[in-house]
């Protein structure tokens, strides 16, 4: 256990050093949520075509855009993994006696910290637009945990895809094909009950839906989770554990 913590920390620290040294990616990742909230959110709020109950439309989509931005930045984690494979970094990690679980878990946690940075950016945008954000410490702590968990899920999912496709070109294609449907087949920008039945079924199977559901209760004043936090977190933790197991099995194949 101590070994797992120590090795995981080594991987996380390296990722954080790199992130701090070159934050350009973080900055460019802030642009998309800005567009969604300031342009899309404000325009659709005028239409009042989507019924979001007590919540304003902008408040409704803020957690959705937060989750989307976590999904988009984490899902391309696989590109970095493929890059590391092309550079021989993966080989170097895999000939070390470090546990494969530490290597994979370290990447997931590092993705979580990126997600936290995204969260701060989106909170700032939302506050500037007078969205009523919950700022009590407990809510913030719970949001941070959800964001870490969500980032870990999508980064690990991305790592699994990277292990299967192994080249950047194929990954880019698959990444595009996966992210947009996952986003639209979720409760990010409209509630599940206005969806056609078939889409609602897909959305119920989408882990992004549960991340957004938890965030909707935790980020927004007066927001509520439809499925309940216990269900949201149980599902997310379950998905994360399953993905971690698969990733640990597949990761060594990157060096073959």
């Amino acid at each position: 256990m101590q070994r797992l913590v120590r090795e995981t920390a080594a991987i996380v620290e390296v990722e954080l050093i790199k992130l701090i040294r070159d934050p350009t990616e973080l900055i460019s990742r802030a642009i998309q949520p800005l567009l969604w909230l300031v342009v899309f959110g404000q325009v659709l709020a005028q239409v009042r075509g989507i019924h979001t109950g007590q919540m304003s439309y902008l408040a409704f989509i803020t957690p959705g855009i937060l989750a989307q931005s976590i999904l988009f930045s984490s899902i391309f984690y696989g590109i970095a993994i493929i890059w590391e494979r092309d550079l021989g970094v993966v080989h170097k990690l895999l000939v070390s006696p470090a546990w494969r679980a530490s290597l994979v878990f370290g990447k997931a946690i590092a993705a979580g910290f990126r997600g936290i940075v995204q969260t701060v950016v989106i909170y700032l945008i939302a506050l500037a637009m007078h969205v009523s954000i919950r700022l009590d410490p407990l809510a913030i702590l719970a949001v941070a945990s959800s964001v870490m968990l969500g980032s870990g899920i999508f980064a690990t999912f991305s790592l699994i895809i990277a292990c299967i496709v192994k080249t950047r070109e194929r990954f880019m294609g698959i990444g595009q094909v996966l992210t947009m449907p996952m986003f639209f087949a979720s409760n990010a920008i409209y509630p599940l009950d206005i969806m056609p039945d078939w889409l609602r079924v897909v959305a119920r199977l989408n882990p992004l839906t549960y991340l957004i559901d938890a965030l909707r209760g935790l980020v927004i004043n007066g927001g509520a989770s439809v499925y309940g936090f216990a269900a949201d977190f149980t599902i997310m933790i379950g998905v994360f554990v399953v993905l971690l197991f698969i990733a640990v099995k597949l990761y060594p194949s990157l060096a073959e």
Partner: protein, 274 residues
């Protein structure tokens, strides 16, 4: 080939028995028998695609063999990969040092992954930096290093945990002659100071003659000859050079071989080395 079967497997740093790896219908490594004694610098030569890298990947536990077995440092690569990993160091053909980190940070990561910490880790890192002549550049980002410095840093990373056996896949590919000689000097010193066994792949005949106590030439996944460099030369006549030895045993010309991906990979490494 003219070596007798060992009575005691522990006397060999590397012992491969009918080691085989297939990729689909291609047999990259075909029932190879190999014995490398402790303390030896052993060269694995062959044209691109002859099976050198596949061999090294299996021996370093990166790639499971299709059949056959091997012991490295006295442990089975399939049954005890963790024990094998603890006893080996590996420098890949690719430049695996992280350019976005400093030399020191690269070493610190290796130290932590090998379970070194505290003052022990610190003193090993200092030793390695001094040994490789990198102490002055330790705080600089690796992307500012020259190709030769990156190679020396990678050797430093690979030796931190004092492995019994070092695997080097084309360690001087793409380096200029001065940088190449520095890497060779460091390797010979490393063997001298720490008694490491070194398995090196190359298709550079000067390197093979300069460094290796013995070498094996691979052709189409099989060993076509094993011997000391001088013996191999004299076996082909008085005038024979190492290039002649290579051409004779590696199956055809030294210059025309390699698949597209081999060449692309080599170019990429050379490009990064500038």
């Amino acid at each position: 080939m003219n070596q007798t079967a060992p009575d005691d497997p522990d006397q060999f740093a590397i012992l491969a028995t009918a080691l085989t790896r297939r990729f689909g219908t291609l047999t990259a490594v075909d029932h190879i028998e190999l014995q490398v004694a402790y303390g030896e610098i052993f060269g694995l030569l062959g044209a691109n695609g002859a099976g050198k890298s596949t061999m090294i990947k299996m021996l370093t536990t990166l790639l499971p063999p299709t059949s056959g077995s091997a012991q490295v440092g006295g442990f089975d690569i399939i049954k005890s990969p963790g024990e094998v990993r603890r006893r080996i160091g590996y420098v890949s053909q690719l430049l695996s040092a992280d350019g976005a980190l400093t030399g020191f940070e690269n070493l610190l990561l290796s130290a932590r992954l090998y379970g070194l910490h505290g003052s022990e880790s610190r003193s090993r890192i200092d030793d390695a930096l001094n040994f490789m002549g990198l102490a002055d550049s330790a705080k600089k980002l690796v992307k500012t290093y020259s190709g030769g410095m990156i190679r020396r840093l990678e050797l430093a990373q690979a030796m931190l945990h004092r492995p019994a056996i070092l695997f080097l896949d084309e360690p001087t590919i793409g380096l200029d002659p001065v940088a190449r000689h520095t890497v060779w000097d460091r390797l010979l010193d490393l063997r001298h100071s720490y008694g490491m066994t070194v398995l090196i792949t190359t298709h550079d005949m000067e390197e093979a003659e300069m460094l290796c106590d013995s070498l094996a030439i691979l052709h189409a996944g099989k060993i076509s000859v094993i011997g000391k460099p001088a013996e191999l030369r004299s076996g082909l006549g008085d005038e024979a050079t190492m290039d002649d030895v290579f051409a004779h045993y590696a199956g055809g010309s030294i210059h025309e071989s390699g698949t597209f991906s081999d060449v692309a990979k080599t170019r990429r490494t050379a490009q990064r080395l500038g």
